[in-house]
Protein backbone atom coordinates (compact mmCIF):
# COMPACT_ATOMS: atom_id res chain seq x y z
CA UNK A 1 0.00 0.00 0.00
CA UNK A 2 1.24 3.46 -0.88
CA UNK A 3 0.94 4.84 2.64
CA UNK A 4 2.81 2.03 4.32
CA UNK A 5 5.58 1.87 1.70
CA UNK A 6 7.61 5.02 2.47
CA UNK A 7 6.80 4.60 6.13
CA UNK A 8 8.41 1.18 6.18
CA UNK A 9 11.44 2.16 4.16
CA UNK A 10 12.17 5.81 4.81
CA UNK A 11 15.31 5.54 2.73
CA UNK A 12 13.21 4.84 -0.33
CA UNK A 13 11.28 8.06 -0.05
CA UNK A 14 13.38 9.70 -2.72
CA UNK A 15 12.20 7.19 -5.21
CA UNK A 16 8.70 8.64 -5.14
CA UNK A 17 7.89 10.92 -8.09
CA UNK A 18 8.37 14.47 -6.77
CA UNK A 19 10.97 17.06 -5.64
CA UNK A 20 14.36 15.58 -4.97
CA UNK A 21 15.37 15.54 -1.29
CA UNK A 22 18.85 15.00 0.18
CA UNK A 23 21.07 16.78 -2.32
CA UNK A 24 23.98 16.20 0.11
CA UNK A 25 23.89 12.49 -0.51
CA UNK A 26 23.86 13.05 -4.23
CA UNK A 27 26.97 15.24 -3.97
CA UNK A 28 28.66 12.62 -1.81
CA UNK A 29 27.97 9.80 -4.22
CA UNK A 30 28.36 11.61 -7.49
CA UNK A 31 28.10 9.79 -10.74
CA UNK A 32 29.03 6.27 -9.90
CA UNK A 33 27.61 2.82 -10.08
CA UNK A 34 24.66 3.92 -7.93
CA UNK A 35 23.45 7.34 -8.98
CA UNK A 36 21.21 7.86 -5.98
CA UNK A 37 18.99 10.48 -7.69
CA UNK A 38 17.31 10.25 -10.97
CA UNK A 39 14.57 12.91 -11.09
CA UNK A 40 13.60 11.89 -14.61
CA UNK A 41 13.07 8.34 -13.55
CA UNK A 42 9.50 7.52 -12.74
CA UNK A 43 8.69 4.04 -11.43
CA UNK A 44 5.73 3.97 -13.74
CA UNK A 45 7.80 3.88 -16.98
CA UNK A 46 8.65 0.20 -17.25
CA UNK A 47 9.89 -1.08 -20.66
CA UNK A 48 7.22 -2.76 -22.77
CA UNK A 49 7.44 -3.74 -26.39
CA UNK A 50 4.03 -2.76 -27.70
CA UNK A 51 3.87 -2.12 -31.46
CA UNK A 52 7.51 -2.39 -32.60
CA UNK A 53 9.72 -5.50 -32.76
CA UNK A 54 13.20 -5.57 -31.30
CA UNK A 55 14.71 -5.02 -34.77
CA UNK A 56 12.97 -1.67 -35.33
CA UNK A 57 15.07 1.41 -34.58
CA UNK A 58 14.06 3.50 -31.57
CA UNK A 59 12.03 6.65 -32.19
CA UNK A 60 13.64 10.08 -32.82
CA UNK A 61 12.06 11.42 -29.63
CA UNK A 62 14.18 8.99 -27.67
CA UNK A 63 17.42 10.23 -29.21
CA UNK A 64 18.69 11.98 -26.09
CA UNK A 65 17.17 9.58 -23.63
CA UNK A 66 19.45 8.56 -20.84
CA UNK A 67 18.42 5.41 -19.05
CA UNK A 68 19.52 5.33 -15.48
CA UNK A 69 19.44 2.32 -13.19
CA UNK A 70 17.05 2.26 -10.28
CA UNK A 71 18.09 4.24 -7.21
CA UNK A 72 19.67 2.33 -4.40
CA UNK A 73 19.96 3.33 -0.77
CA UNK A 74 23.44 2.29 0.34
CA UNK A 75 22.55 1.67 3.97
CA UNK A 76 19.57 -0.39 3.08
CA UNK A 77 21.64 -2.17 0.49
CA UNK A 78 24.27 -3.08 3.02
CA UNK A 79 21.69 -4.31 5.45
CA UNK A 80 19.89 -6.34 2.83
CA UNK A 81 23.08 -7.82 1.44
CA UNK A 82 24.24 -8.79 4.89
CA UNK A 83 20.93 -10.46 5.62
CA UNK A 84 20.95 -12.32 2.34
CA UNK A 85 24.51 -13.44 2.94
CA UNK A 86 23.64 -14.85 6.29
CA UNK A 87 20.52 -16.51 4.98
CA UNK A 88 22.37 -18.15 2.10
CA UNK A 89 25.17 -19.20 4.39
CA UNK A 90 22.76 -20.92 6.71
CA UNK A 91 20.88 -22.57 3.85
CA UNK A 92 23.96 -23.91 2.13
CA UNK A 93 25.28 -25.15 5.46
CA UNK A 94 22.03 -26.99 6.03
CA UNK A 95 22.13 -28.46 2.56
CA UNK A 96 25.70 -29.64 3.00
CA UNK A 97 24.74 -31.12 6.33
CA UNK A 98 21.86 -33.07 4.86
CA UNK A 99 23.93 -34.18 1.88
CA UNK A 100 26.64 -35.49 4.17
CA UNK A 101 24.04 -37.28 6.26
CA UNK A 102 22.53 -38.99 3.23
CA UNK A 103 25.93 -40.03 1.91
CA UNK A 104 26.86 -41.37 5.30
CA UNK A 105 23.69 -43.42 5.44
CA UNK A 106 24.29 -44.80 1.97
CA UNK A 107 27.87 -45.69 2.79
CA UNK A 108 26.85 -47.40 5.98
CA UNK A 109 24.21 -49.39 4.16
CA UNK A 110 26.67 -50.45 1.52
CA UNK A 111 29.25 -51.43 4.11
CA UNK A 112 26.66 -53.30 6.08
CA UNK A 113 25.58 -55.14 2.96
CA UNK A 114 29.20 -55.92 2.00
CA UNK A 115 30.42 -56.93 5.39
CA UNK A 116 27.34 -58.98 6.10
CA UNK A 117 28.98 -62.15 7.25
CA UNK A 118 26.27 -64.56 6.31
CA UNK A 119 26.11 -63.28 2.78
CA UNK A 120 29.84 -63.76 2.38
CA UNK A 121 29.47 -67.22 3.85
CA UNK A 122 26.70 -68.02 1.48
CA UNK A 123 28.72 -66.74 -1.45
CA UNK A 124 31.73 -68.84 -0.49
CA UNK A 125 29.57 -71.88 -0.06
CA UNK A 126 28.02 -71.40 -3.48
CA UNK A 127 31.43 -70.87 -5.09
CA UNK A 128 32.68 -74.04 -3.44
CA UNK A 129 29.66 -75.90 -4.76
CA UNK A 130 30.35 -74.49 -8.21
CA UNK A 131 33.94 -75.67 -8.03
CA UNK A 132 32.78 -79.11 -7.05
CA UNK A 133 30.39 -79.15 -9.95
CA UNK A 134 33.21 -78.16 -12.27
CA UNK A 135 35.39 -80.93 -10.85
CA UNK A 136 32.60 -83.44 -11.43
CA UNK A 137 32.22 -82.18 -14.95
CA UNK A 138 35.95 -82.53 -15.47
CA UNK A 139 35.85 -86.10 -14.21
CA UNK A 140 32.97 -86.89 -16.53
CA UNK A 141 34.80 -85.32 -19.42
CA UNK A 142 37.97 -87.27 -18.73
CA UNK A 143 36.00 -90.48 -18.57
CA UNK A 144 34.35 -89.68 -21.81
CA UNK A 145 37.65 -88.93 -23.46
CA UNK A 146 39.15 -92.14 -22.15
CA UNK A 147 36.23 -94.12 -23.45
CA UNK A 148 36.54 -92.49 -26.80
CA UNK A 149 40.23 -93.28 -26.92
CA UNK A 150 39.58 -96.88 -26.09
CA UNK A 151 36.88 -97.05 -28.66
CA UNK A 152 39.21 -95.68 -31.26
CA UNK A 153 41.95 -98.11 -30.36
CA UNK A 154 39.53 -100.99 -30.49
CA UNK A 155 38.33 -99.92 -33.88
CA UNK A 156 41.85 -99.57 -35.14
CA UNK A 157 42.84 -103.00 -33.91
CA UNK A 158 39.73 -104.47 -35.48
CA UNK A 159 40.57 -102.96 -38.79
CA UNK A 160 44.14 -104.22 -38.54
CA UNK A 161 42.83 -107.71 -37.77
CA UNK A 162 40.49 -107.67 -40.68
CA UNK A 163 43.28 -106.56 -42.92
CA UNK A 164 45.51 -109.32 -41.66
CA UNK A 165 42.77 -111.88 -42.18
CA UNK A 166 42.15 -110.65 -45.67
CA UNK A 167 45.84 -110.90 -46.45
CA UNK A 168 45.92 -114.41 -45.09
CA UNK A 169 42.95 -115.52 -47.08
CA UNK A 170 44.49 -114.04 -50.18
CA UNK A 171 47.74 -115.78 -49.60
CA UNK A 172 45.95 -119.07 -49.02
CA UNK A 173 44.09 -118.72 -52.25
CA UNK A 174 47.27 -118.06 -54.10
CA UNK A 175 48.93 -121.03 -52.44
CA UNK A 176 46.07 -123.29 -53.47
CA UNK A 177 46.27 -122.12 -57.04
CA UNK A 178 49.98 -122.73 -57.14
CA UNK A 179 49.54 -126.27 -55.80
CA UNK A 180 46.77 -126.96 -58.23
CA UNK A 181 48.97 -125.80 -61.05
CA UNK A 182 51.73 -127.99 -59.83
CA UNK A 183 49.36 -130.93 -59.84
CA UNK A 184 48.24 -130.22 -63.33
CA UNK A 185 51.81 -129.72 -64.48
CA UNK A 186 52.30 -133.43 -63.99
CA UNK A 187 49.86 -134.13 -66.80
CA UNK A 188 51.23 -131.56 -69.21
CA UNK A 189 52.28 -132.61 -72.67
CA UNK A 190 55.93 -131.72 -73.17
CA UNK A 191 58.02 -132.25 -76.29
CA UNK A 192 59.49 -135.35 -74.62
CA UNK A 193 56.05 -136.90 -73.92
CA UNK A 194 54.65 -135.95 -77.24
CA UNK A 195 55.29 -139.17 -79.10
CA UNK A 196 54.23 -141.30 -76.14
CA UNK A 197 51.01 -139.38 -75.59
CA UNK A 198 50.07 -139.45 -79.21
CA UNK A 199 50.63 -143.20 -79.24
CA UNK A 200 48.50 -143.44 -76.10
CA UNK A 201 45.64 -141.44 -77.59
CA UNK A 202 45.64 -143.36 -80.75
CA UNK A 203 45.67 -146.65 -78.87
CA UNK A 204 42.72 -145.73 -76.63
CA UNK A 205 39.95 -144.21 -78.69
CA UNK A 206 37.43 -142.45 -76.50
CA UNK A 207 33.80 -142.34 -77.35
CA UNK A 208 32.24 -138.96 -76.58
CA UNK A 209 28.83 -139.75 -78.01
CA UNK A 210 25.88 -139.93 -75.66
CA UNK A 211 22.17 -139.32 -75.68
CA UNK A 212 20.03 -137.61 -73.05
CA UNK A 213 16.32 -137.71 -72.61
CA UNK A 214 13.99 -135.22 -71.00
CA UNK A 215 14.38 -136.83 -67.59
CA UNK A 216 18.10 -136.23 -67.62
CA UNK A 217 19.14 -139.86 -68.07
CA UNK A 218 22.36 -140.25 -70.02
CA UNK A 219 22.55 -143.14 -72.51
CA UNK A 220 25.95 -144.17 -73.91
CA UNK A 221 24.92 -146.87 -76.37
CA UNK A 222 26.39 -145.58 -79.60
CA UNK A 223 29.30 -147.62 -80.77
CA UNK A 224 32.53 -145.97 -81.91
CA UNK A 225 33.32 -146.86 -85.46
Amino acid sequence: SGAAGPAMLPALRRCRPGPVPLPALAAALGPGPFPGLCPGWSPRAVPARGRKTRHDPPAKSKAGRVKLPPPVDPEELLVVLERYRQHRLVLSALRAEFRAEVLQKKREERLAAEVSVEELEEHRRLMAWNDEENARQRARREERLKKEEEEQKRRKSEIAEKQARKMEAFLEEKEKEVLQLQEEAKNFITPENLEARIEECLDNPRNYNFAIDKDGRIVKRTVLS
Binding site: N134, Q137, R141
Partner: protein, 169 residues
Protein backbone atom coordinates in the same frame (compact mmCIF):
# COMPACT_ATOMS: atom_id res chain seq x y z
CA UNK B 1 4.65 -59.38 -40.93
CA UNK B 2 4.43 -59.47 -37.11
CA UNK B 3 6.48 -62.66 -36.65
CA UNK B 4 10.23 -62.39 -37.12
CA UNK B 5 12.83 -65.12 -36.75
CA UNK B 6 12.72 -68.83 -36.15
CA UNK B 7 11.02 -68.83 -32.72
CA UNK B 8 9.16 -65.53 -32.53
CA UNK B 9 7.74 -66.52 -29.14
CA UNK B 10 11.11 -65.49 -27.73
CA UNK B 11 10.21 -61.91 -28.52
CA UNK B 12 6.96 -61.88 -26.56
CA UNK B 13 6.78 -60.08 -23.22
CA UNK B 14 5.08 -63.03 -21.60
CA UNK B 15 7.95 -65.34 -22.49
CA UNK B 16 10.57 -62.84 -21.39
CA UNK B 17 8.93 -62.15 -18.04
CA UNK B 18 8.86 -65.89 -17.36
CA UNK B 19 12.62 -65.88 -16.92
CA UNK B 20 13.41 -66.47 -13.23
CA UNK B 21 17.14 -65.75 -13.12
CA UNK B 22 17.69 -62.38 -11.43
CA UNK B 23 21.40 -61.85 -10.74
CA UNK B 24 22.77 -60.49 -7.49
CA UNK B 25 23.84 -56.88 -7.68
CA UNK B 26 27.51 -57.87 -7.63
CA UNK B 27 27.37 -59.56 -11.06
CA UNK B 28 28.39 -57.14 -13.78
CA UNK B 29 29.37 -59.15 -16.87
CA UNK B 30 28.41 -62.55 -18.19
CA UNK B 31 30.45 -64.18 -20.94
CA UNK B 32 29.42 -67.30 -22.87
CA UNK B 33 31.96 -69.25 -24.92
CA UNK B 34 30.35 -71.90 -27.09
CA UNK B 35 30.64 -73.68 -30.43
CA UNK B 36 28.22 -73.61 -33.28
CA UNK B 37 28.76 -77.30 -34.09
CA UNK B 38 29.18 -80.41 -32.00
CA UNK B 39 26.98 -82.46 -29.70
CA UNK B 40 28.63 -81.32 -26.50
CA UNK B 41 27.81 -77.66 -27.17
CA UNK B 42 24.17 -78.39 -27.87
CA UNK B 43 23.01 -77.41 -24.39
CA UNK B 44 25.00 -74.20 -24.51
CA UNK B 45 23.58 -73.33 -27.91
CA UNK B 46 20.04 -73.86 -26.68
CA UNK B 47 20.82 -71.80 -23.60
CA UNK B 48 22.04 -68.92 -25.75
CA UNK B 49 19.09 -69.19 -28.08
CA UNK B 50 16.26 -69.55 -25.56
CA UNK B 51 17.34 -68.42 -22.13
CA UNK B 52 19.67 -65.49 -22.64
CA UNK B 53 16.87 -63.15 -23.82
CA UNK B 54 15.01 -63.91 -20.61
CA UNK B 55 18.08 -63.25 -18.51
CA UNK B 56 18.86 -59.97 -20.23
CA UNK B 57 15.27 -58.86 -19.84
CA UNK B 58 15.40 -59.42 -16.13
CA UNK B 59 18.92 -57.96 -15.77
CA UNK B 60 19.13 -55.01 -18.12
CA UNK B 61 22.30 -53.70 -16.47
CA UNK B 62 24.35 -56.88 -16.85
CA UNK B 63 26.56 -56.99 -19.94
CA UNK B 64 26.30 -60.31 -21.78
CA UNK B 65 28.89 -61.27 -24.40
CA UNK B 66 28.88 -64.31 -26.65
CA UNK B 67 32.02 -65.86 -28.16
CA UNK B 68 31.65 -68.50 -30.85
CA UNK B 69 34.12 -71.19 -31.85
CA UNK B 70 37.01 -69.89 -29.81
CA UNK B 71 37.53 -72.77 -27.41
CA UNK B 72 37.07 -76.50 -27.81
CA UNK B 73 34.62 -76.80 -24.95
CA UNK B 74 31.79 -74.47 -23.90
CA UNK B 75 31.75 -72.54 -20.62
CA UNK B 76 30.25 -69.51 -18.90
CA UNK B 77 32.26 -66.88 -17.06
CA UNK B 78 30.88 -64.29 -14.66
CA UNK B 79 32.75 -61.16 -13.63
CA UNK B 80 31.73 -59.75 -10.26
CA UNK B 81 32.32 -56.22 -9.10
CA UNK B 82 34.99 -57.21 -6.57
CA UNK B 83 37.15 -58.59 -9.40
CA UNK B 84 36.22 -62.21 -8.79
CA UNK B 85 35.62 -64.42 -11.82
CA UNK B 86 33.30 -67.41 -11.63
CA UNK B 87 33.80 -70.18 -14.18
CA UNK B 88 30.98 -72.57 -15.01
CA UNK B 89 31.67 -75.56 -17.23
CA UNK B 90 28.61 -76.36 -19.34
CA UNK B 91 29.86 -79.12 -21.57
CA UNK B 92 27.36 -81.91 -21.97
CA UNK B 93 24.59 -80.14 -20.01
CA UNK B 94 21.09 -79.29 -21.17
CA UNK B 95 20.02 -75.66 -21.19
CA UNK B 96 17.65 -76.27 -18.32
CA UNK B 97 20.45 -77.64 -16.17
CA UNK B 98 22.58 -74.62 -17.05
CA UNK B 99 19.89 -72.16 -15.97
CA UNK B 100 19.32 -74.05 -12.73
CA UNK B 101 23.01 -74.06 -11.99
CA UNK B 102 23.38 -70.35 -12.69
CA UNK B 103 20.32 -69.51 -10.65
CA UNK B 104 21.69 -71.47 -7.73
CA UNK B 105 25.12 -69.88 -7.60
CA UNK B 106 24.49 -66.28 -8.65
CA UNK B 107 20.77 -65.67 -8.68
CA UNK B 108 18.75 -63.84 -6.07
CA UNK B 109 16.81 -66.23 -3.94
CA UNK B 110 13.06 -66.34 -4.03
CA UNK B 111 12.75 -64.77 -0.58
CA UNK B 112 14.91 -61.83 -1.54
CA UNK B 113 12.85 -61.25 -4.64
CA UNK B 114 9.61 -61.39 -2.70
CA UNK B 115 10.95 -59.01 -0.09
CA UNK B 116 11.97 -56.55 -2.78
CA UNK B 117 8.57 -56.79 -4.39
CA UNK B 118 6.85 -56.06 -1.13
CA UNK B 119 9.17 -53.13 -0.44
CA UNK B 120 8.53 -51.70 -3.87
CA UNK B 121 4.79 -51.94 -3.50
CA UNK B 122 4.52 -50.34 -0.07
CA UNK B 123 6.19 -46.94 -0.08
CA UNK B 124 5.28 -45.29 3.17
CA UNK B 125 5.54 -41.75 1.83
CA UNK B 126 2.83 -41.90 -0.80
CA UNK B 127 -0.87 -41.43 -0.25
CA UNK B 128 -3.76 -42.71 -2.28
CA UNK B 129 -6.21 -45.57 -2.74
CA UNK B 130 -5.67 -48.48 -0.37
CA UNK B 131 -5.04 -50.78 -3.32
CA UNK B 132 -1.79 -49.05 -4.22
CA UNK B 133 -0.71 -47.13 -1.11
CA UNK B 134 -0.39 -47.73 2.57
CA UNK B 135 -2.28 -44.59 3.69
CA UNK B 136 -5.04 -42.59 2.14
CA UNK B 137 -4.81 -39.39 4.12
CA UNK B 138 -2.33 -37.73 6.47
CA UNK B 139 -4.93 -37.84 9.23
CA UNK B 140 -4.38 -41.62 9.51
CA UNK B 141 -0.85 -41.21 10.80
CA UNK B 142 -0.05 -40.97 14.51
CA UNK B 143 1.03 -37.54 15.63
CA UNK B 144 -0.71 -35.67 12.84
CA UNK B 145 -3.83 -33.55 12.93
CA UNK B 146 -6.78 -35.95 13.36
CA UNK B 147 -9.45 -36.21 10.73
CA UNK B 148 -11.95 -33.36 11.12
CA UNK B 149 -14.72 -35.88 10.46
CA UNK B 150 -14.09 -37.33 13.93
CA UNK B 151 -12.48 -34.50 15.87
CA UNK B 152 -13.46 -30.91 14.93
CA UNK B 153 -10.53 -28.64 14.15
CA UNK B 154 -9.66 -25.88 16.58
CA UNK B 155 -11.25 -22.54 15.78
CA UNK B 156 -8.02 -20.91 14.62
CA UNK B 157 -7.58 -23.44 11.80
CA UNK B 158 -11.11 -23.13 10.41
CA UNK B 159 -11.73 -21.02 7.37
CA UNK B 160 -14.97 -19.43 8.60
CA UNK B 161 -13.27 -18.16 11.78
CA UNK B 162 -10.35 -16.76 9.88
CA UNK B 163 -12.66 -15.01 7.42
CA UNK B 164 -14.69 -13.59 10.28
CA UNK B 165 -11.55 -12.26 11.95
CA UNK B 166 -10.46 -10.64 8.74
CA UNK B 167 -13.82 -9.01 8.22
CA UNK B 168 -13.77 -7.67 11.72
CA UNK B 169 -10.35 -6.08 11.25
Amino acid sequence: MPMKGRFPVRRTLQYLSQGDVVFKSSVKVMTVNYNTAGELSEGARKFVFFNIPQIQYKNPWVQIMLFRNMTPSPFLRFYLDNGEQVLVDVEDKTNKEITEHVKKILGKSKETLEKEERKKLSHPATFGPKKYHLHECMCEIEGQVPCPAFVPLPKEMRGKYKAAMKNEA
